[in-house]
């Protein structure tokens, strides 16, 4: 295991407390050239507000430019920096070092996604399944015409789907789903939760289309209700509940 202990030069700031040191452990792996992962340790200083993404970028900036990591907004909105941090899928930008309660931060790429390099994984399968459930409001009158009016909803109508609209497509739910690990054709909790989001929206008229799509041999019925998808969602979405509510439609308990 390689270890890089040269500390990045920290600019001293009289307003900040002295930085502690964290050991950041990153797997280096390129599926095109490597047969196995090589773990590299970096010693990085951090403050109480430092996130895991901050230390990864610190290591990338000062110690190893070749670290591959995907990120964008740094505020848990874009869903780009999902990874396994100390054994649990989380957003790197939404996880502070101080809350991990460990001197070692071990980061790994998300499971159930093909690795592109190091921490970057391919989202192709998730985006494909997401698109397959038609993630948009379907209406015959959706084209803007002179007669187009607002589609007003009551707070109660919004309440039925609003938590599912918080999905940022980070893929943490898919990475932790046990069925996704074995069934390469499974539609996955992310897409199923989004199917419920649009079916529960009273402006939408595409319920039958979507129910037909998910009522497949690799669709909604392959969920075994492990519930881990709901446990790891950083936005408080409950895909497991959405899946059970969708089953209600298919079993005739809901209309």
């Amino acid at each position: 295991m390689a270890q890089i202990s040269i500390l990045a030069e920290e600019k001293t700031d009289s307003l900040t407390s002295p930085a502690k040191i964290i050991s950041l452990r990153i797997p280096k792996f390129n599926p095109a050239t490597d047969s196995k992962k090589t773990w590299i340790d970096f010693q990085i200083p951090y403050q109480k507000w430092t996130t895991v993404l901050d230390v990864i970028l610190e290591a990338k900036k000062y110690l190893d430019h070749s670290i591959a990591v995907r990120y964008s907004c740094r505020q848990a909105t874009c869903g780009s920096c999902g990874m396994i941090i100390n054994g649990r899928p989380r957003l790197a930008c939404f996880t502070k070092i101080s809350e991990l309660d460990s001197d070692i931060v071990k980061v790994e790429p998300m499971k159930n996604f093909p690795i592109i390099r190091d921490l970057a994984v391919s989202f192709d399968r998730m985006f494909k399944t997401h698109k397959s459930i038609k993630p948009f409001v379907i209406r015959e009158d959706s084209e803007i015409t002179e007669k187009t009016t607002q589609l007003l909803q009551t707070p109660e109508e919004v309440e039925k789907y609003i938590q599912f609209a918080n999905c940022i497509k980070c893929g943490l739910c898919n990475s932790v789903c046990p069925t996704m690990a074995t069934d390469s054709s499974f539609v996955g909790p992310q897409a199923l939760a989004q199917a419920y989001r649009y079916i529960a929206d009273n402006r939408d008229k595409g319920k039958d289309d979507r129910l037909k799509i998910i009522d497949d041999s690799h669709g909604i019925w392959r969920c075994h209700f492990a519930g881990s998808c709901s446990q790891v969602c950083p936005k408080g979405v409950d895909p497991a509940m959405g899946i059970q509510l969708l089953r209600g439609y298919l079993l005739g308990f809901r209309s």
Binding site: T182, F186, G219, W221, L250, L251
Partner: protein, 114 residues
């Protein structure tokens, strides 16, 4: 057949099997448990037509439920059009074979051929 129809059958057979197997177990308590498993008692059960009918129903329910469960496990383990068709038809054939063989046992015993 759509997957939701298959799963309705799956859940239905599970619920019905629980009810019938409960009756089957309760019937063991009408006499001493060890005594109820003696050869003469078992043959007598088979020759009591309503009970033999219930055993036949349990056989059908559990075969349908069990082989559909096996099918779902197998298609989750591996994917592919040919493989999935083979699994589905294989499970149907195995289910029918189990029902036929079990029914043969029930009919022959209830008709005193054993």
């Amino acid at each position: 057949m759509r997957e939701s129809h298959i799963m309705k059958i799956h859940y239905g057979t599970a619920l019905a099997a629980i009810a019938f197997v409960a009756i089957h177990i309760l019937m063991r308590m009408t006499q001493n448990f060890a005594e109820s498993l003696e050869y003469e008692s078992v043959i007598a059960n088979y020759q009591y037509l309503p009970y033999a009918g219930m055993l036949e129903i349990i056989l059908i329910l559990l075969a349908i439920h069990g082989f559909n469960g096996l099918r779902t496990i197998l298609i989750e383990l591996k994917q592919g059009r040919t493989y999935e068709k083979a699994v589905s038809y294989g499970c149907i054939v195995a289910m029918v074979a189990i029902i036929v063989y079990g029914s043969r046992t029930i009919f022959m015993t209830s008709m005193g051929m054993v």
